[in-house]
């Protein structure tokens, strides 16, 4: 069957109205919307911290904040952006899209879904509230290394509790995603017929279930070290502070992939649509994602080369890290091969996907540079690393999220967004994000350390350039806010399938879909395999 709209579910429209609709909702679309709006709010709060950081670093000397406040801002910026913006944005996309992409009526455990979301506002209110406590908020970096982190004042137990709440929310969300995919797929949709966004989330959810408890364990031990007389990480009591770093990065490295695998899924949806070709190498994409996920568990100590470890350890972690470039290369090759001889058009989602392809690859290359042990001794804790992970997380994860929002916004709202304004958002973001982060490579190579509020005068020019890029990139996001709000409020009516080349079950539902969709599972004849002609 072609893209005819299957609107047979309008009898299920009844739902509470007003604030109670949102507080008590068990509907995957409502919860997806809540996650996405929450992450947008956190994106602007974390972004405003970044603006202060860049303003402080605009020129040498102390300008706006004292060093303790600066450290609190860098710590909070990271915690908010990672746990409050990027992860909830992906969970929001998963909530909205996975059920309608696999022909399920809702997430498998809708009440737990509500709980997963509503923990988050409390967790982040608590976390942000610590900035107002005596002694200020956490200032030891998002990695929370002891003994530095143990110097946090009154805020310490509150931060630990907030991290636990974020972890519980993530694990519940991940469990829900796994069981939804395992138990609620449409008849005859075998695993290897699922859309790639679903596949990448399926694997990401397993990563979350495996590593969030490890982070929770590590921070629980920090708490007992500070308040209950244990010495897990205290050398004075026979413990080992380096052990914390190993445990943290056993969580932290898969966490990096938690923030990028769903982005791979999004790009794998967008590129075939606007190249009007099936995705090149579907199965190899799935195996590449699975390989990356597996390898992410055995590379953690590449974050700790300078801490000191046996030579065999350094070699092992160097080679396993370099090995990740192989499946990642498979993916970049397949996206490029999908574009080859395609009938390409450049709507905003496609522009973001193509920018992802180029700019994420730059972040990937600098990652391979950091994997080389002797070279990493130079890069460690310098602005080169800051440039590297911002290319991965901003032009990688955040760009994919923005691409996904433009791609599915007509589906969610029933309105087309303003393509001209959206393209302005894309070009402003892409130009200024490079002005922001590219000079930081050179600052790092020249020896500027990360997490400092002041620097020697020779770093001034590139820091000014980076700050100008930062302010304009930040301002460009107001265009994004404008496009999203104006599309929610109105605009030209979107058809069920606004993109000519789009395939997959979500495009068989009207835009916006009814409150309860796929209450009867779609027949296998209704959907074609999204990646094959």
């Amino acid at each position: 069957m072609s893209a005819a709209t299957l609107d047979h579910d309008t009898h299920g429209e009844h739902h509470p109205s007003g604030i109670w609709r949102w507080v008590t909702t068990t509907n995957h679309k409502d919860i997806g919307t809540l996650y996405l709006l929450f992450s947008l709010l956190m994106f602007f709060i974390g972004g405003s911290f970044a603006m202060v950081i860049r303003a402080e670093l605009f020129k040498p000397g102390m300008q706006l904040v004292d060093p303790v406040m600066f450290n609190q801002l860098t710590t909070m910026h990271a915690l908010i952006m990672i746990f409050g913006a990027i992860m909830p944005a992906f969970v929001g996309l998963a909530n909205w899209m996975i059920p309608i992409m696999i022909g399920a009526p809702d997430m498998a455990l809708p009440r737990m879904n509500n709980w997963s979301f509503w923990i988050l506002p409390f967790a982040f209110t608590l976390l942000l509230g610590t900035l107002l406590m005596p002694g200020g908020g956490p200032a030891g970096g998002w990695t929370m290394y002891p003994p530095l982190m143990l110097q946090t004042g009154t805020a310490f137990p509150f931060v630990i509790f907030a991290v636990h709440m974020m972890g519980i929310s993530s694990v519940m969300g991940a469990i829900n995603i796994v069981v939804t995919i395992l138990n609620l797929r449409a008849p005859k949709m075998t695993l290897l017929k699922m859309p790639l966004f679903v596949w990448t989330w399926f694997i990401t959810a397993y990563l979350l279930i495996a590593v969030m408890p490890v982070l929770a364990g590590a921070v629980t031990m920090l708490l007992t070290d500070k308040y209950f007389g244990t010495s897990f990480f205290s050398a004075a009591g026979g413990g080992d502070p380096v052990m914390f770093q190993h445990i943290f990065w056993f969580f932290g490295h898969p966490e990096v992939y938690i923030m990028i695998l769903p982005a791979f899924g999004i790009v794998s949806e967008i590129i075939p649509t606007f190249a009007r070709k099936p995705l090149f190498g579907y199965e190899s994409m799935v195996y590449a994602v699975a390989s990356i996920a597996f390898l992410s568990f055995i590379v953690w100590a590449h974050h700790m080369f300078t801490v000191g470890m046996p030579l065999a350890g350094e070699l092992f972690f160097m080679f396993t890290t370099m090995l990740i470039a192989v499946p990642t290369g498979v993916k970049v090759f397949n996206w490029t091969a999908t574009l080859w001889k395609g009938s390409i058009t450049f709507e905003t989602p496609m522009l973001f996907a193509l920018a992802f392809l180029f700019l994420f690859t730059i972040g990937g290359f600098s990652g391979v540079m950091c994997a080389i042990v002797p070279a990493d001794f130079q890069y460690q804790d310098s602005y080169f690393v800051v440039a590297h992970f911002h290319y991965v997380l901003v032009t990688g994860a955040a760009f994919a999220i923005m691409g996904a929002v433009y791609y599915w916004l007509p589906k969610w709202t029933g309105h087309m967004y303003n393509e001209t304004v959206a393209k302005w958002h894309f070009w402003m973001s892409t130009i200024w994000v490079n002005v922001l982060f590219f000079p930081q490579h050179f600052l790092g190579l020249a020896g500027m350390p990360r997490r400092i509020p002041d620097y020697p005068v020779q770093f001034t020019d590139l820091n000014m350039l980076s700050s100008i890029g930062g302010f304009l990139f930040g301002a460009s996001q107001l265009i994004f806010l404008y496009v999203v709000i104006s599309t929610i409020r109105g605009g030209p009516k979107a058809p069920a399938k606004p993109w000519e080349g789009a395939k997959g079950l979500e495009w068989h539902l009207p835009s916006p879909p009814s409150y309860h969709s796929w209450t009867t599972p779609p027949d296998a004849e209704v959907w074609t395999h999204p990646y094959r002609d």
Binding site: H11, T26, D106, P110, A174, N176, V179, I209, A216, F232
Partner: protein, 40 residues
Amino acid sequence: MHKQGRTPGMKKAMRNAALLGLLALVFYVGIFMLVKWRHP
């Protein structure tokens, strides 16, 4: 039409979710055991 807050495959999904929750708990407890083993 399923009831609000219920899905058709929910029973089986709940069993799988419980198993995955148990797996998460194993990782949480496991990390304490690992550290304890490293520093008896």
